[in-house]
Symmetry: C2
Subunit: 438 residues, 2 copies
Amino acid sequence: MKEVNIGLLGCGTVGTGVARLLLNNTDLISARVGARLNLKKVADVDITTDRGVAFPDGVWTTDADAVVRDPQIDIVVEMIGGKGIARDLMLKAIDHGKHIVTANKALLASHGNEIFQAAREKKVDIGFEASTGGCMPVIKTLREALVGNRIQTMTGILNGTCNYILTKITAEGIPFEDALAGAQEKGYAEADPTLDVDGHDTAHKLAILSALAYGMPLNLDDIYVEGISGITPGDIRFAEEFGYRIKLLAISKNNGDSVEARVHPTMIPITNILSSVNGAVNALMINGDAVDDIMLYGYGAGMMPTGSAVVSDCVDIARNLISGRAGRVPYLSYQAENIRNIAITSIDAVMTRYYFRFSALDHPGVLSKISGILGEYDISIKTVQQKGRKTNGSVPLVMQTHLANEASVQKALKRIEELKVVSTKPVFIRIEDDTILE
Amino acid sequence: MKEVNIGLLGCGTVGTGVARLLLNNTDLISARVGARLNLKKVADVDITTDRGVAFPDGVWTTDADAVVRDPQIDIVVEMIGGKGIARDLMLKAIDHGKHIVTANKALLASHGNEIFQAAREKKVDIGFEASTGGCMPVIKTLREALVGNRIQTMTGILNGTCNYILTKITAEGIPFEDALAGAQEKGYAEADPTLDVDGHDTAHKLAILSALAYGMPLNLDDIYVEGISGITPGDIRFAEEFGYRIKLLAISKNNGDSVEARVHPTMIPITNILSSVNGAVNALMINGDAVDDIMLYGYGAGMMPTGSAVVSDCVDIARNLISGRAGRVPYLSYQAENIRNIAITSIDAVMTRYYFRFSALDHPGVLSKISGILGEYDISIKTVQQKGRKTNGSVPLVMQTHLANEASVQKALKRIEELKVVSTKPVFIRIEDDTILE
């Protein structure tokens, strides 16, 4: 039987998952692939801790550099993370003609254009299924299953930590801080959860998905990002009364000459299936011109789900090696010469619907002041409700708008904030209900 | 640019969708694949009806036989359907060294072992993504994305017609016949809906999925099948009160030396995301040892969604042609020499939970008679409720059981049916709530 040799760089949680699958499911994988995937080398600074996996003799090394230069190694699996040493080793491995598999979304979102160019020159494959959506085959689906579709929109729950937190707040009515603490206790959130709850992890993934969907270079910088730390149980309750749930969404729309790409808390109809995606899972709804709406759902993180995606990439590359040809599917879905710069629309230019919550004095005339300012900025109100009566002298005044322009909304809210009858900074949450499946 | 020539056999609804995608999205597909997919020939008995697509000159023919023999054709797309002429043409095309793409689940489920064997000998590829789950990449996900996973269970809503009908009954409380008429009016159900509502279409798909998941030959005959025509609004309402929805599910479980594979109406918890899959869509939940639960969701039928799956298969084969090697991924996921006969458990041996509805006289002592018989057969009751009072002298008596054996249940129900106090045939619906995601 043919053999394909794998060198693993970094044996933390996901790296251990990869090793466990390659070692425990060896026969199963061979039975399917018709080749043997050998875990030949494992490089880590810590080579003594027991990972609960029976590694073959002689695989451990602290010398990652030797692994990327080892002529016996066919595929380098980079599980180090971060943008420093991981990037150096990946480029060096490519330079030595190794194929790469990685889960490093931050690195690809920031330096992907350079890395893919280097790989193109050396004619090596790069698998990065595990970078986005964990075990869900989002990359394979965009690059292969939907190859005949013009992608029109993508709407995704791409961070399990945030989704767990929002699910907890929704179910239990507890504040954000308590839900976050619960997520940390359960091991769903990092000690420093900033990258997750601020939406940047989701933005990394959206940069990758947008490049794949539309045939554009990776462009992380122009993605608008807003996190979930400002979401209160009250807003979630009001949303529910309007028939909505609040999710942290990655939203991307293809407007032809430009695309939207933004990450923010969003109200979506309870009847939309994304509203039923609860807990530490991910889901991505893709709309293509042929398939209409299609959704993937699964664990977006974790040792074994992510390990599964890495192994799937290793197998794809092994199959290419057997057939003697890398580059079977282009990295970013389109052939290099067809990738073109497509602008990401500034958030200021986006048109969407809005939910507003004002803390206003319970006075006659307050609504007319607020709605007068909204009217000046061409923001028309769909519904308005005063929720309960006075707390600290003011009451929540809750509104839904029709389609409105973001820049106008920001200007209007600033003017309203300055009103004497308004006691705190207005809250706004964007609403999406036209473009995604009912 | 390299060219790959396609011959289309059958230009009905899905065939037209395939042609439309290949012709309208030509540039998009070329930009991704780096090769041009030419629709070279279209064979149909009707070559005059306007399909609303601008076909190139000279593609039409009534001579399907000439297409499968045409040395210029690389890929034959079989969209004729049925098991007669479609099978003959497919085998002839294989014999002429053509690669095949098909959506014909009935043909594959019944004659797939013979067809795959012929293709293996001729070293040609067979793409059948469109046979199961329409636009959802279920075949690709099982064969490639989950290649490192031992598949443990599959739970699927695989017939959009049935799901539309059940959704309508649930939402509107109308009888089965009215919901079916509505589905026919909307074009979701065929004039003869038997294959759909009796569950056989779902069984065809489950035969294909089980072969792919477990590495066994296609085995349609041993799949237990039960349709939805007996489902009443009342049972749906009672299910809802217990916290369940009723869906027509394809259920498959890997028990190691044997597998379960069955199709029947099933109660699943409302909190399970499959309960939120409403309308004419499909969804498949797969549990793998690494990924845990992963779900695909999308349109399982229709011109363009199915066309999208066909085009994805054409592209996969085109990529293999460019790299000069067919057979990159084995047809049924496992290498031929690793496919082994695995028995499908008889429905009699299945253990699951049950919902029963009896029409019983509103007498003291009735419950004790019924529960006495159940006890004799080792069927223990979890809940029991009398619903309302007399209608036609009897009342609905509704029960949920703990895990019980199917054969025992059938025997007990037959005994209960013979009781004088029971006025109609007892209704039973199987419940699944342990093995699928909460």
